[in-house]
Symmetry: C2
Subunit: 494 residues, 2 copies
């Protein structure tokens, strides 16, 4: 249909995307390259562009255009309906904050990210804590402005995972916790005879780069539309059409840390590269949620990359790139990459213990938002919970409450999406191999195109046309469920 | 003095700089990292931000604020006067073009740069020529809009070097040409016994990076406020306060190509890092012209970096980084880096032949703008002139008329500033060592702080307070003159 207000909304979305894609590049550059003395001005650039985008979207015209479309009532196309639904939801939310508040939040975020990196490097919580105080206050103000019926954390998590509520997550996590602890303990027992030193060797960075790139390409990542750089924190940024950037970090004593990081980010990258480019800048062309995003990364990292078939395909290439592996058998690589034990760092945690790291963060951050936990008490609280969850004593904050970038970015309410992603990965993967038996055959032979096709058709190409749970339900026939993930862990680790 | 219109102008300049500094990062990223499929959208981002900045500056309010300040007439501070002078000049010029034209020009530029790189890589002029047609048309339209009294090229060169005129440049170049040819021929005779193979060896990129960085730091380049990356085309971009980025390219068979490229870009970088940061975004905090910029790069590259004293200081470090140099004596390095012969590539040309490359380009580009030369005739015209100037037959366009990035960037009128920079470098360097005899002593000992101090005080800190020729006159007591440069070349190469 031809609607002038609708076309205006499309046009406005495209203009906003010119700002937000530019902000995304500024953010990528801040993590990969900016010189230290450039950070202050970068904070101003981010605040400026963030404020511009917010003003364009909260403009009263936008509200009028949305209302006009809603009143016309003759939208039947699912894509148009989805765009309207998302514009309405985001507009109603955005107008609750002033553009000046957004600018200030952007400025605080930029400075805070840098302070956090310093704080972590120097293992000194005091450097970060005043910034974290500001971040918490900003998030509390956001929650109050957005509004919530039960817990202020509801208002935040909704921004990362539409439809999620604190109580829902709490119940899920309470159900998962005992089973995950059982699985973790059993996995640790099973791993007791696998030495943590098997993969240790000499892995030059350029060989790691080449090996990672070869696998990323075989998964289907398009290097004409993306790249991989080194950065302190692994992430994926879908900057613009044809421009998806991943980062990783290298350990020259163990190639597997960077490799699995890359497999994970490639999963995100394939989702970004698979979004319908002609709908870029409108909701139907955007990734639908962080949980669905994470389902893609965890699927490629764990269901594909840690399956024994993966190493059957890649063992000889790995030994070609890394002479250190020539003394390690294929079976030893497989068992090493499935080795499980309680550990300090979430991004390096094995599958069997990973979700406990998430649950710990959820319990802490919802209390930071409610005010039940003060920033000054964070290290002590973290360390006590860590002992309770993992039986490990945190010796320094850099390996404890300072390890993650998220809070410094102002992102509270983000962590639960990792576990939501784990559930989604297992549920989707199970459905994929059921739908197309050829997928398993291909994976056994080190080919990935049929799995990627399935994900392209069922997930990537959908953008935000369906809300996360409707998407999962539409594809798998049921709502997001923990059973697939637990079955996967049990079959692999018990 | 406290002036509301003046403060408004400062505020507006700062807002425009938020756009232009962001555009600078987009431009840097386009040359260093963007994936191929991201280029189309990048062109849209550049057009969008360029249009926004142009609209903000050509807004009728800006003209009113400038007029108010001019009418008040009580500005006595040289910095305020300079800001007003520059705002007036740039505003009058900017309003002659529409923002839509600027957007289109930005879009054409982005696409053209990519087509040029492809064209050069494939040595196929036809890929670039339709883009160059558009670039020439855009520049002709610019010249017509800006207006000129004598030659349309006047209107363009003025954008790079205030106060320059086609006729002035033509007369200068006509005077220089015979002397430069004499010097070039003498230098080639003097170099006849120096083998071009002396420095050839094995130079790993990481060793080159470390050596370049050590020298850049010793010159005073601040790596906390800048960085050096690899790119196909060496350049310097002063992106924002605390963020100056250089690029270079590496030849693993000859370290000197990247080294002298870096010394050159470091000269630009020191100027950018030496601009008064508190005045950033206003004319008094900006570099004054490309000619003055080039005077800084050529000074560090040639007057410092090709002086025998340079290798007396750096020979042993070079031999430490590059085992290939252990068979080469200090004297052999010195004579190799002063070796002269007619060659195809401007950026790798020796000092004695460099300006002839510039004169050739000037003669061609002014005829492209006037329409006396058609794009289709460019390769033939280039090759004929090359034979006339250098006695060399150009065998492929990649080493001929496709070698430079400038025209693809839409920059016509830029090339003469390289020779203006050579004159300035010699004149300023001569004055510096006359003013402070300690400078020479330091250079002999491999120290550079006093030379940098002199440049900081006399050039960098001045921003655009004085117009280029007034700046040179103020520092050296006379207008820009070719005599210092010719004397320098004669004493070094005859």
């Amino acid at each position: 249909m031809d609607s002038s207000p609708y076309q205006n909304l499309i046009q406005r979305s495209k203009e906003i995307a010119l700002y937000s894609s530019t902000s995304a590049l500024l953010g990528w550059d801040q993590e990969t390259g900016i010189p230290k003395k450039g950070l202050n001005y970068r904070a101003e650039q981010c605040a400026f562009l963030g404020g511009k985008a917010h003003r364009l979207f909260t403009d009263s015209q936008v509200g009028n255009w949305i209302s006009s479309c809603e009143n016309e009532g003759n939208f039947i196309d699912s894509e148009e309906l989805a765009n309207l639904r998302e514009w309405r939801w985001s507009h109603d939310r955005a107008v609750k904050l002033s553009s000046e508040f957004i600018e200030e939040a952007e400025r605080v975020r930029s400075h805070s990210m840098f302070a956090w990196a310093e704080s972590r490097k120097k293992n000194d919580f005091k450097i970060f804590s005043p910034h974290l105080e500001k971040i918490i206050k900003i998030n509390q103000r956001k929650a109050e402005s957005y509004g919530y019926s039960d817990h202020p954390y509801d208002a935040l998590i909704e921004g990362y995972e539409r439809g999620s509520r604190t109580e829902m997550i709490r119940e899920l996590f309470d159900r998962l916790k005992p089973t995950l602890r059982e699985i973790g303990e059993a996995a640790a027992r099973k791993s007791a005879n696998i030495s943590s030193q098997i993969l240790k060797g000499d892995y030059p960075i350029n060989a790691q780069e080449e090996f990672n790139q070869e696998i990323a390409e075989s998964f289907g990542f398009d290097f004409n539309a993306g790249r991989i750089d080194a950065a302190v924190h692994p992430f994926c940024s879908g900057i613009a059409p044809g421009d998806t950037r991943l980062t990783t970090r290298y350990d020259t004593n163990d190639f597997s840390s960077s490799l699995y990081g890359v497999l994970h980010e490639v999963g995100h990258g394939l989702y970004e590269q698979g979004l319908p480019v002609e709908k870029f800048a409108t909701p139907s062309g955007n990734a639908v949620s962080l949980g669905i995003h994470e389902s893609q990364s965890r699927l490629w990292e764990n269901h594909v990359g840690r399956a024994p078939s993966f190493w059957k395909s890649w063992y000889s290439r790995a030994a070609h790139f890394f002479p250190s592996l020539q003394k390690v058998s294929e079976e030893e690589i497989i068992s090493s990459t499935l080795r499980s034990e309680p550990s300090f760092i979430r991004v390096e945690a094995d599958e069997a213990t990973y979700d406990l790291h998430i649950i710990l963060r959820f319990e802490i951050e919802k209390d930071l938002i409610s005010g039940d936990l003060k920033v000054a008490e964070l290290p002590e609280c973290w360390n006590a919970k860590f002992m309770e969850f993992f039986g490990l004593r945190v010796e320094n904050d850099a390996d404890g409450c300072l390890q993650d970038i998220h809070w410094s970015m102002g992102a509270l309410g983000y962590f639960p999406t990792y576990t939501i992603g784990n559930l989604g990965a297992a549920q989707l993967y199970s459905k994929a191999i059921e739908d197309d038996p050829e997928i398993s055959n291909q994976l056994n032979g080190g080919e990935y195109s049929k799995l990627l096709d399935w994900l392209r058709i069922n997930i990537h190409s959908k953008g935000s046309v369906l809300l996360p749970d409707d998407l999962i339900k539409g594809v798998t026939g049921e709502s997001l469920s923990e059973s697939y993930h637990l079955e996967h862990l049990q079959s692999r680790y018990l």
